[in-house]
């Protein structure tokens, strides 16, 4: 049988997880998922689209991820937002 010992430490560091920082309820009608992070409408081929037109999501607001993935996703959100604004302007002009 294995015997478990005990070890004394000066410091114990807890590696904490991420929790959603913001609940849109009451502010805007963008949906959240079961995990309470903002819901992505097309997580595979357009990850930054939400279920609200003109509202986009990037980074940890759409679920835990590292800085590298966050920055790439921020670029994707910038892409979608810039297209939305371009089309919005065109519609307004028409």
């Amino acid at each position: 049988m294995r015997v478990w010992g005990s070890i004394a430490f000066i410091l114990v560091v807890l590696s904490l997880g991420m929790v959603p920082d913001w609940n849109p309820v009451g502010t805007c009608s963008v949906s959240i998922d079961d995990d309470a992070f903002i819901k992505s409408a097309m997580p595979k081929i357009a990850p930054t689209l939400t279920d609200m037109e003109g509202v986009f999501v990037a980074g940890v607001a759409a679920g835990p991820k590292d800085i590298v993935d966050t920055i790439a996703e921020a670029g994707a959100a910038a892409m979608e937002a810039s297209i939305y604004l371009k089309e919005f302007k065109r519609e307004k002009a028409a």
Binding site: P43, K44, I45, P47, G63, D69, I71, A76, A78, M79
Partner: protein, 635 residues
């Protein structure tokens, strides 16, 4: 301009800013002593240290000194110039000073990361002194402005390439999408049900491919390869070679034409890809004038070594992509999974095959190389397959042999929970004590797996199974010809390498060349699409002004010294950059060298071969080098 102001400008006032890099530098270089060492050097007016020079307060320190007239030359001593030289030039520009009156001293990669103690401080002093000396010889320069083609070339028609093409077009940029194979969709076509949405990969490919093919701003070239590339950002000249597909593919296309959908721009052939309808492809060469090049060249699947977990000699040992294809094609129902007509009563999955390889444990390839990275997608893909088997064929038992389960993506952990609830049995092994796959004798099961299971504190467990599935990882796809042709930076993992993973994650060091998807690192479809969209928005930012600005560090001919020897013309590695032009000097027809600044890369070979010292690289002149060497010798 008053003579007083002119005089004031002539006086070189160098501001030196030394970065701690949060301890990265200051743990080894005594930055306070360094600041003292250089503060009395000729020309130095201020010598500051700061915890993070790249931070807003750090940059503001420089800007204040410029605005109140304390400095007119800036030296920052910090990390490698590839990281933050641009940051500081921009800060200077925002303070209304010419951004090229700046010199960078690298005291992190070249000093604190490789030297310690007094030596480190001494070397840092020498490098900063050299930068100070050079900065006093800098002249104000203007970036070179050249027209940019509002056109992008995307190499690779996988999911990232399709995504990028679509976004570029939506931003009003014309696109050429170049795909080697006859199909669109890339490696994603080899998948079936996706984690965690449960969508079919084929549906997503059809959706993107149809949108791309319907878009009149996108020209799609399948069966095509980039064979030549010249030029620079805004003005690349790319030659694409197109070949007709093999007869086998054409035959397949004919068969599929039977299931023609008039609303679709082609047909999705599972495990091959989306075959675009249209005129038969003929052999031809295409010349493209393009502003940016986006690499979406994807990955290839690791092929297990002969004998790796019994692969090769045993037909019952297969890879995960093979299992996915067979399960999808056979569409078997019933309590027991059937593969190739065989009842699979027990199946074993082995994780991390061809990923997370460890020197000294795993066998390197012919070139001595190991895949030391995690392929990210295989854990979730394996659990997806395991759940599908357990839920569709409850009489088939599933064993998973893993080192670590990394279901890191949003919603992926649910697959792990689901697998536990589905009674998938997990065994955990140490990398230096891998499971052993052997043939059985006198058993109804063909294979036996032995493992030392760390979950049961090292118990040796043997199981007999009908099928072993290897969860193979991703490898960079074979694009060495493109890497060679376009001098693309490749990382230690052999994937294409970005400028900086956090600051410039989708850009290559080659200006105007961008990265989309798994040519850069293992990613899932969502991550690859994010990267593709980020690359598209970067491209749009580069091209939207109609012109691009290039660094002015290019060769310049001194017409007073040039005698037209043409040594530079012969030595220049980029054809057409330096030419001899005829001109008239004092009534005499003479030949003189002339540089096309847009083509010049500033390599300086011409400077080395000119006997008359008549050519020099702006911002890196011989005189500036001499001053740097003098300063290093004196330090």
């Amino acid at each position: 301009m008053s003579s007083e102001m002119k005089k004031e400008e002539k006086e070189k006032k160098v501001g030196v800013y030394i970065c701690h890099c949060g301890g990265n530098i200051s743990d080894h270089v005594d930055v306070k002593k360094l600041a003292e060492n250089i503060q009395d050097l000729p020309g130095v007016t201020v010598s500051h240290t700061n915890m993070f020079m790249c931070s807003d307060p750090g940059q503001e320190l420089i800007q204040e000194d410029i605005k109140n007239g304390t400095v007119n030359r800036v030296v920052v001593a910090s990390c490698a110039p590839s990281l933050h030289e641009l940051t500081f030039r921009s800060a200077i520009k925002r303070a209304d000073m010419n951004p090229y009156l700046y010199e960078h001293a690298n005291i992190r990669e070249q000093v604190s990361w490789v030297h310690h103690g007094e030596q480190a401080t001494e070397k840092a002093t020498a490098l900063v002194a050299a930068a100070i000396a050079k900065s006093q010889n800098l002249e104000p320069l203007d970036p070179i402005r050249v027209d940019a083609k509002n056109h992008a070339t995307v190499i690779g028609g996988g999911i990232a390439g399709l995504r990028a093409a679509l976004d570029l077009s939506r931003r009003g940029i014309e696109v050429a999408l170049v795909e080697k194979s006859p199909y669109l969709g890339g490696q994603a076509a080899k998948l079936d049900t996706l984690v965690p949405t449960g969508e079919k990969a084929g549906d997503l490919i059809e959706q993107l491919a149809n949108a791309v093919l319907k878009d009149t701003q996108i020209a799609v070239y399948t069966c095509s390869e980039v064979v030549q590339s010249k030029g620079y950002v805004g003005n690349f000249k790319v030659i694409v070679k197109q070949h007709p597909p093999s007869d086998k593919v054409t035959e397949l296309e004919k068969q599929k034409a039977a299931m023609n959908n008039p609303h679709s721009m082609g047909y999705f052939i599972p495990f091959s890809g989306f075959y675009p309808k249209g005129e038969p492809i003929v052999s031809r060469d295409l010349d493209l004038d393009t502003g940016v090049i986006i690499f979406a060249t994807g990955f290839k699947t690791y092929i297990p070594r002969e004998g790796e977990y019994g692969y090769g000699s045993n037909t019952e040992v297969i890879t995960l992509p093979q299992l996915i294809q067979w399960m999808s094609e056979e569409k078997t129902s019933g309590p027991v999974l059937k593969i190739n007509g065989r009842n699979i009563r027990r199946v074993a999955f082995i994780h991390c095959v061809g990923s997370r390889q460890i020197p000294g444990i795993h066998e390197p390839d012919d070139t001595g190389y190991l895949n030391e990275y995690c392929s990210r997608t295989c854990c979730s893909a394996t659990l997806q397959a395991a759940n599908e088997i357990r839920e569709m064929h409850p009489k088939t038992h599933v064993f998973e042999y893993y080192r670590d389960i990394r279901t890191y993506g949003r919603g992926h952990e649910d697959y792990y929970d689901r697998a536990s609830n589905n009674n998938v049995i997990f065994f955990r092994f140490e990398p230096d004590n891998q499971p052993l796959v052997e043939r059985t004798e006198g058993s109804s099961y063909p294979l036996r797996i032995k493992v030392t299971d760390t979950l049961t504190l090292g118990e040796e467990i043997t199981a007999e199974v009908d099928l072993v599935v290897l969860a193979v990882g991703m490898e960079p796809s074979g694009i060495s010809d493109l890497v060679e042709m376009m001098k693309l930076p490749v990382g230690a993992d052999h994937f294409l390498q970005e400028v900086h993973p956090k600051l410039r994650p989708v850009e290559l060091a080659n200006t105007g060349m961008l990265l989309a998807g798994t040519c850069q690192a293992p990613m899932d479809i969502g991550e690859a699409c994010s990267a593709a969209q980020a690359a598209s928005v970067k491209s749009a930012a580069l091209l939207s002004k109609g012109y691009v600005e290039l660094d002015p560090f290019v060769a310049e001919v001194n017409p007073d010294k040039c005698v037209g020897s043409a040594a530079c013309v012969e030595a220049c590695p980029i054809e057409g950059t330096i030419t001899l032009i005829e001109t008239e000097i004092e009534g005499e027809r003479v030949k003189r060298a002339e540089v096309n600044p847009a083509l010049c890369t500033g390599c300086g070979i011409c400077v080395a071969v000119c006997k008359d010292n008549a050519i020099d690289v702006k911002g890196w002149s011989l005189k500036q080098y001499e001053k740097m060497v003098d300063a290093i010798v004196a330090a």
